[in-house]
């Protein structure tokens, strides 16, 4: 049997999922899409049951033909599927609108009234037996965090599956119901195959659902098309509403009536202090003060942790490299390959454990407390000025950890244009590897202030690129429509799961490229290709950008691994006292250039995966062009100010 958890965002699905499946869960990409769903197997009364956790959705109705992976999964789930509809009881009325849509599918289902304790605190009491009678499916109260009611929920789900308990058909109000019946009758007459039950198809036809229209297209003759079009016109005339909104409005009212019937709303047990919290944290002035303090505290904590831990790993891998030098001294090429391998592996560990892991824990913490959507709310306006939305802040913040998960996180954005612009800007964010260059070169040789200046400069650069891109690709967007969830104490398991999934994107995509890149670089070095490459690049590096010729090779290395550019700079210049061979302007310009000139190879792969090869190449060329111009400006302008 196959149990699919479906619910609106923030309904606590994942908590329930973790409660039953625990760490044995696997994450896979749904076929044909990039969105992840999580699944796992459990033993229930001697039967092996597959449980799937899908990303939250508000509705099965999709307005564009791009579709939604969760909706696709629900619609195309195998025949022995039981839908487990998880509801946040404190927003029951709204949640029932999705429940009514799931009922239209006519599949066995159960309803979990989750966060039942929260609802009780608010004075909401639900007649579960009554609700169960009306919808014709088992209804169980659960408190996911405490595991209350969860095993009963899954038992009932299995029973519903075995006994094929199908939910009731809740009729729409008279004029609409007549049209639904009429459509169902026609669908039967025309022998339209039951891809779904005919009632569901009829409802989707009324919603003018582009995907379903396409699916039944081959089964309709011209007469059928005309009949449907006429019926919809009549329906719109009879109700005075656009057909697209009609079913949604009907469900809204049905859900509210249902809520009135089964819920009793009393006096809340106590005032919710969390609302007072929002009076401060989303305040038009104080909100931004807190935002800056919270972000600054988070980043400086991560940097502190990282700079304490990193040297430990670096020492260790340097020892290994030294030892290899002794052992493999005779086989120069083999030595180069092995050293490349070790430094690639070491470089990965040197980024992951000190910086990326604490970063993702902190990010998941901000996300699970509910603060991240508030950040999106606060910066929405600012982001709009550079052609983006509040939600674009998520990939961008993630980019400070590693560009690869940052770029992959653009999948939360709806339109391709938003993805493209956000991904471009995300690659321009100094990730933790680039942070080591900025602080290692500018912070060390010039001053900490100058290093911070690079970050400020970077924000300006992002603003500029955003402005340019949004001028090239203008948009007509209605702006933000987003639920701001309640504040919430994060739980360990979902937090760990989220952190691990993001870390995995680095480990699976970025790390192998990093290791391969290191090997190639060591071999280039070994074969003595450094000088030819340097002189080949000289017109650009020396002539245009004003760097010493020796840095040419480090720029090639920087494509593979950003932080390698720093280590190699010392080697290329033949000294670690960079100031003796480069002027301060050169150091500043070089750091700026090497940090932002192109996305590293791993990020390039992520861009190609999430967008396309063409977009990845375009983004690379755009950033290279802009950063070259700015570096020349630095070369010309910085000396003027001393």
């Amino acid at each position: 049997m196959n149990l699919v958890l479906v619910g609106q965002p923030y309904s606590g699905k994942s908590t329930i999922f973790n409660e039953v499946v625990g760490y044995k869960s696997l994450s896979t990409n749904a076929p044909g899409s990039t969105a992840e769903h999580t699944h796992g197997k459990i033993q229930l009364d001697g039967e092996t049951v597959e449980v799937v956790d899908l990303p939250g959705i508000y509705s099965l109705q999709v307005s564009d033909d791009a579709g939604n992976p969760t909706v696709d999964h629900v619609l195309n789930a195998p025949a022995d599927t039981v839908l487990v509809n998880v509801i946040d009881t404190s927003v029951l009325s709204r949640s029932l609108e999705l429940t009514l849509q799931l009922m239209e599918l006519g599949r066995p289902m159960v309803v979990a009234l989750n966060m039942a304790d929260e609802a009780q605190r608010k004075g909401i009491q639900i007649d579960t037996a009554g609700l169960s009678r009306i919808i014709g499916a088992p209804v169980i109260e659960t408190v996911g965090i405490k595991g209350e009611g969860v095993s009963e929920l899954f038992r009932e789900a299995c029973r519903a599956g075995r006994e094929r308990i199908r939910p009731q058909v809740v009729p729409a109000p008279p004029p609409v119901e007549c049209f639904i019946q009429e459509l169902v009758r026609h669908l039967g007459q025309w022998n339209v195959p039951e891809l779904f039950n005919h009632r569901y198809i009829a409802i989707k036809l009324i919603e003018r659902d582009p995907i379903l229209q396409k699916a039944i297209e081959p089964h309709l003759n011209p007469y059928g098309h005309k009949t449907i079009a006429t019926l919809l016109q009549d329906l719109e005339a009879a109700t005075g509403q656009r057909a697209e909104f009609l079913m949604s409005a009907v469900r809204h009212h049905l859900a509210f009536e249902l809520f009135e019937t089964v819920a009793r709303v009393g006096i809340p047990q106590r005032r919710d202090i969390r609302r007072q919290l929002d009076a401060v944290l989303t305040h038009p002035v104080l909100g931004y003060v807190f935002l800056l303090v919270i972000l600054a505290a988070t980043f400086s904590l991560i940097f502190k942790v990282g700079s304490l831990v990193e040297p430990v790993f670096l020492d260790y891998f340097e020892q290994i490299t030294g030892w290899l030098g002794d052992k493999l001294g005779g086989h120069a090429l083999l030595h180069a390959v092995v050293v490349g391998l070790v430094s690639g592996i070491g470089g990965g560990i040197g980024i992951v454990i000190p910086y990326l892991l604490p970063f993702f824990v902190a990010l998941a913490f901000l996300e699970d407390t509910g603060y991240l959507p508030r950040i999106a709310y606060l910066v929405d306006n600012l982001m709009h000025r550079i052609g983006l939305h509040g939600m674009s802040v998520v990939p961008i913040i993630m980019g400070y950890g590693c560009s690869v998960p940052g770029v992959l996180a653009t999948r939360i954005l709806k339109s391709r244009r938003d993805k493209l612009i956000t991904a471009t800007l995300t690659t321009l964010i100094p990730c933790s590897a680039r942070m080591t260059i900025i602080f290692g070169l500018i912070g060390f040789f010039i001053s900490m202030k100058a290093a911070i200046l690079v970050y400020v400069f970077n924000l300006l650069l992002i603003g500029l690129v955003g402005l340019i891109l949004s001028k090239i690709m203008p948009e007509e967007s209605p702006g933000m429509i987003m639920e701001i969830p309640r504040y919430h104490l994060p739980e360990i398991k979902p937090l760990a799961r989220k952190t691990w999934f993001r870390l995995k994107e680095f480990v699976v995509i970025a790390w192998p490229i990093l290791i391969g890149g290191s090997v190639v670089l060591e071999v280039i070095n070994h074969l003595g290709l450094t000088d030819p490459i340097n002189s080949f690049l000289a017109p650009y590096t020396v002539g245009l950008l004003g760097f010493p010729a020796a840095v040419g090779i480090t720029l090639i290395f920087g494509i593979m691994r950003k932080e390698m550019a720093l280590v190699l700079l010392f080697a290329a210049l033949g000294t670690s006292d960079v100031t003796s061979v480069m002027s301060l302007t050169q150091i500043f310009g070089y750091t700026f250039f090497v940090t932002f000139y192109v996305p590293c190879l791993a990020t390039f792969a992520a861009l190609a995966k999430e967008l396309s090869w063409r977009s990845a190449i375009a983004i690379t060329l755009i950033t290279l062009a802009i950063v070259s111009v700015l570096t020349v400006l630095i070369r010309l302008l910085v000396p003027l100010f001393g």
Binding site: R94, A279, P284, G479, M482
Partner: protein
């Protein structure tokens, strides 16, 4: 009166949503339709989004959309 003309703390009823199909559907999915009552919780500066309380849900609505939501004091 438009939603953007309201003050913090105002409780108003939505009379009309004069926006595109996608925006109306998105609002509907969050349970916001004509006839519902909302409370304006917070406004953000410089024509940033507005934060409204609808039932027990907080919803952030972009300024340009909020300009097209007509409301009445209830």
């Amino acid at each position: 009166m438009r939603l953007v003309d309201c003050q913090r703390g105002d409780r108003v009823m939505i009379v009309e949503i004069d926006a595109g199909c996608g925006a109306v559907l998105n609002l509907m999915q969050l349970g916001l339709v004509k006839g519902d009552t909302v409370e304006l919780l917070q406004r953000s500066p410089l024509k940033g989004p507005l934060l409204v309380l609808h039932g027990d849900t907080e919803v952030a609505i972009g300024y340009r959309l909020a300009e097209r939501i007509l409301v009445e004091k209830s």
